[in-house]
Assembly symmetry: C2
Homo-oligomer: 339 residues x 2
């Protein structure tokens, strides 16, 4: 066990794109768990696009992080000390903790991780928040049906890759936008997508869709926004459903992003566009985890992880999300190599 604890603080609020200077690595003594608390040693830390929003002062659905305060993330770790909480040393847990080697937490902030379901890292990916986001966003909001054409952006990412496979299970034709030929090959060859479009190789997204989705788009799962979404909207069929999950292409904008107005298209297509947050489905998380675990077990849902080694590299892992450097779930492995 380390004698000091490292943790990242928000050094300042980024204007536009964050960079390494947005993060400050602080050291402190390893904290002691208070009454009813445990001490958790981080094994994996999750970096996710939504975190960008918490760096701004503006109140949105997630409370802003304060400058000088620790950043928080989904963590999988091991209980190393317990002070009367419902967990004991050796338990594997997950929860929203700090970007740190160690963190204290009340028992009520943690859920147990079942290592029988798969590698513990999947509790932050396909069997965790990103998998559940794909599950509810696809089934409850985008609602692909047999014979539909389903489009997903950020298709090789943690959420998009699972969303596309769930749509495939519904019998839809599945088209994904991703940012490299390697990712497109991953979609088509490994995940069974009907077509992948490398958006970095063209800016004629509409033309690419004319080819990949010749019958138009019935169901759209959007993680990205911006000009790709404009092209997808131009192809929406009558009664299409759009699930707005994320808009990563806009998160670093320094001014309010503008684009073509879309409401006229919605009249013509009678399309429904709906934003959602996975947290609203909390009462059904168990159902999602169970179904996802079954699909992983049966091979119907494949997943991939991109693992960055070392807590000290967590900022790079986070910044890489905006460059599309990850395939599948982006994780940071913490601590193992230092023992």
């Amino acid at each position: 066990m380390r004698e000091t604890n490292r943790k990242f603080l928000l050094a300042n609020r980024p204007d536009g794109k964050p960079d390494r200077d947005t993060f400050e690595l602080a050291e402190e003594d390893v904290p002691e768990p208070g009454p009813g608390e445990v001490l958790v040693r981080t094994r994996y830390l999750s970096v996710d696009p939504y975190m960008r929003g918490r760096m701004d002062a503006r109140e949105s659905y997630a409370e802003p992080w304060e400058v000088g305060e620790p950043l928080r993330a989904g963590v999988v770790g091991e209980v190393v000390d317990s002070n009367g909480a419902d967990f004991e040393a050796g338990d594997l847990v997950t929860g929203n903790l700090q970007w740190a080697d160690y963190a204290t937490a009340r028992g009520s902030q943690l859920q147990p991780v079942n290592p029988d379901l798969g590698p513990v890292s999947t509790a932050l990916g396909v069997l965790g928040m990103p998998g559940r986001t794909a599950y509810f966003g696809t089934r409850e909001v985008a609602q692909p049906k047999a014979g539909d054409t389903f489009v997903v952006t950020g298709a090789a990412g943690a959420v998009g890759s699972v969303a596309g496979q769930i749509a495939k299970l519904s019998g839809a034709r599945v088209v994904g936008f991703a940012g490299s030929d390697e990712k497109v090959a991953f979609l088509e060859d490994d995940l069974g997508f009907d077509a992948g479009i490398n958006y970095k190789e063209t800016d004629d997204y509409r033309g690419a869709l004319d080819e990949a989705a010749p019958g138009g788009v019935d169901s759209y799962f959007d993680n990205v926004g911006g000009p790709i979404t404009d092209a997808v909207f131009s192809k929406l069929n009558v009664d299409a459903r759009v699930a707005v999950c994320g808009q990563i292409s806009l998160y670093n904008a320094e001014e309010i992003p503008t684009g073509p107005r879309k409401l006229p298209k919605l009249i013509e297509s009678r399309a429904r566009v709906e934003g959602f947050l996975v947290g609203d489905f909390a009462p059904r998380f168990e159902e999602a985890t169970r179904k996802l675990a079954e699909w992983v077990e049966s091979g119907d849902v494949q997943y991939r992880e991109t693992v960055t080694e070392g807590l000290e590299n967590a900022p790079d892992a986070f910044l890489g999300l905006f460059e599309g450097e990850n395939v599948g779930k982006q994780l940071v492995a913490v601590g193992d190599s230092e023992e």
Copy 2:
């Protein structure tokens, strides 16, 4: 009966705003009804914003009108000759006919007008397509509930004025945008809206809404689009519903209109935005007409009509829609004065 029939043709496709030269008034002999047809003498002609779309070559939900061909409109008229159709001379009918003094139609193109329900002109307004649009768009799409704040644009128009009153019947706080102090007084004093905003007296729509809808917006019925809609979106509450009925502020745009991107706001608010066309509710038209007639009878729904006299003035009546010259339903009275 006139000896010649006047009818308006589409003279050319407008670039941007149509004007008088968009229309050509042609004369012909009064047509004879063919087998299974009737001859209808127009009493009232409806001009509606959606007609602007049909003047463009672009296929949308309504087929484009052809240059040189007659314009079409909702008409209330009287059967003056029948050639084996299910109607006889003297019957009052409504249907989609020409902008003309007389038009032939098959019986299947017409519905009877029941003069016991109200003045026959209401078959083109509160008891016709605009009333039904308000009915389904409000109840099925925007879904205001007791305690909600409901906002409607084009609030003094044929659709908006009825939508606001239906929302009021649901127990919502109702706020309407309209284009003159006279219209705002109509909303507040005659229709029972909680607040009206004269959008021609301010461009701080957001500030006006902060006052009129201090608790945010739960349900929005949009006939107008553009910057007013941007302001309403900025105020959407969690789980808000937006019914996209029309976008009249954009119909004459010469380039693709742009504005702030709205999808990020939909994530935060989990709002649902849905376009609709009244025609999709055709199996339920009778229900709507019956309810609307009851509400008109009980005084729960008030309506107003702006009547332009003379077929020759129909283009001005249509063009006036885009200047907000009408209060309530804009009609053209045809023929009466010439007999």
